[in-house]
């Protein structure tokens, strides 16, 4: 891990999350530097999604501090809708709006949140679709697109707002294997453009090629973290080793 002099763009400290009696996050600290790509791995149920969702406050942490791009996310005075513009999120299940075209999906927040005029929003949305290689699918409804194309529209919807950070929650897990590559390619070009990214995924090849740091979570805690080579080849903890061994077998 490179020691950054600059303020981290994402700083989460002592994050706890309870769902009733279930203690899902047990004091997670995560700092992410600008332009860094952090990969989060861990067994199902270890709290990876919950952690991501706490970062943009889709989930309310039970305790802890979170700042993103200098904004105190948990301060009640923070305009959360304004803050969320700076944090793009991509979901496992795409969650495109089925009643709108691809272009409409991307335009909605540009119009309603960023306050762009119709023509301006349309221009920006078209440019975002271009970045994910779907300029020619602007008029298609989600139902008329493949899973990979839908996920790329979802990425376009997020990046159109020019976020400072992008959160990806298993972006390729719901895709047929032959469609995974197109989504990873878009993520890689995003990374090359300097986007700060936190990615929950089991795509080890992608992690190896693109991640600055891999974070291993288990039972609501970060067990260990480090450069991909270190985590994948010589993990310090037995639990990490066991998990890496498991996902290797796929």
């Amino acid at each position: 891990m490179n020691s950054t002099v600059a303020e981290p763009i994402v700083a989460a400290r002592g994050i706890h999350k309870h769902f009733g009696h279930l203690h899902v996050l047990k004091g997670v600290d995560l700092e992410v530097a600008e332009r860094e790509l952090v990969f989060v791995i861990g067994p199902s149920g270890s709290g990876k999604s919950t952690l991501l969702r706490c970062l943009n406050r889709l989930e309310e942490p039970s305790a802890g501090n979170i700042t993103v791009a200098g904004i105190d996310m948990l301060d009640p005075r923070t305009d959360i809708n304004h803050a969320r513009q700076h944090i793009g999120m991509v979901f496992q299940s795409f969650n495109l709006y089925p009643h709108m075209t691809a272009l409409g999906n991307v335009m909605l927040a540009l119009r309603k949140v960023a306050g762009k005029s119709r023509t301006e929003a349309e221009k920006l949305a078209q440019a975002a679709l271009e970045r994910v290689g779907l300029a020619d699918r602007a008029d298609h409804r989600p139902a008329e697109l493949s899973g990979g194309q839908q996920q790329r529209v979802a990425i376009a919807r997020a990046i159109a707002l020019e976020p400072r950070v992008m959160l990806f929650d298993e972006p390729t897990s719901a895709l047929d294997p032959e469609l995974v590559g197109s989504v990873l390619a878009v993520m890689r070009s995003l990374r090359e453009s300097g986007m700060t990214m936190i990615v929950v995924s089991h795509e080890m090849g992608f992690a190896r090629a693109a991640a600055d740091r891999v974070v291993f979570m288990d039972h609501g805690l970060i067990v260990e973290q480090g450069p991909p080579a270190q985590i994948f080849e010589s993990p310090a903890h037995e639990r990490t080793r066991a998990f890496i061994g498991q996902i290797r077998q796929h």
Partner: protein
Amino acid sequence: MSAWDRFLKTFFNTEVMAKYLPDILQGMVVTIELALLIVVSGIGAGLVLALIRSLAIRPVNWLIIFVVDLFRSLPPLVIIVLIYFGLPAAGISASAFVSTWLSLSLVLMSFAEEIFWAGITSISRGQWEAARSTGLSFGQTLFNVILPQALRLTVAPLTNRTIAITKGTALGTVVALHEILGMASSAVSNSYNPSPLMMAAAAYLVLFLPVVVGARWIEARFAWKR
């Protein structure tokens, strides 16, 4: 006189029909006015209640659920009678028209609220989360993302329910409302002949058959693939 002639003279007596046609037409006007008012206020109020319910304010939602369940369980006839004969006791007098309108609006409101609410809750949590994650507010998400999807799902059940309840305008006869059936029944007792009832049936067909056919068309149109 053959049996057939006797049948015609009894049920389709042209003299009686000609005499009471203006009454029946007058009743149709009342029925149309009443039905339109009920549709507008019942569906409008139902939608407003469903939107308020989505704010998830507990005591408010308990109240909504109580009111809605109440008006869905009581027979509409009972509500009409209660309002018409009960309100004067509370110092408010409501005409037969107002009583029937208010009663059936409350019933339609209650069913519509449940239909809208079912539509809203059937939209996946992922839709809310995706929209909110881009910075859309609760209200913006509700109006731009959730409702357009939910309303499509409600079209079919809502049209069916609306037809069923607006036909209930005939219940207004018990409080002497001069709608189609009311006019027909008094015509029957005045003429000692059931022909006006046949006219009433025809009048209901003329009014509601196009609505039923239209509903079929609307249903087909809104059943769109996801």
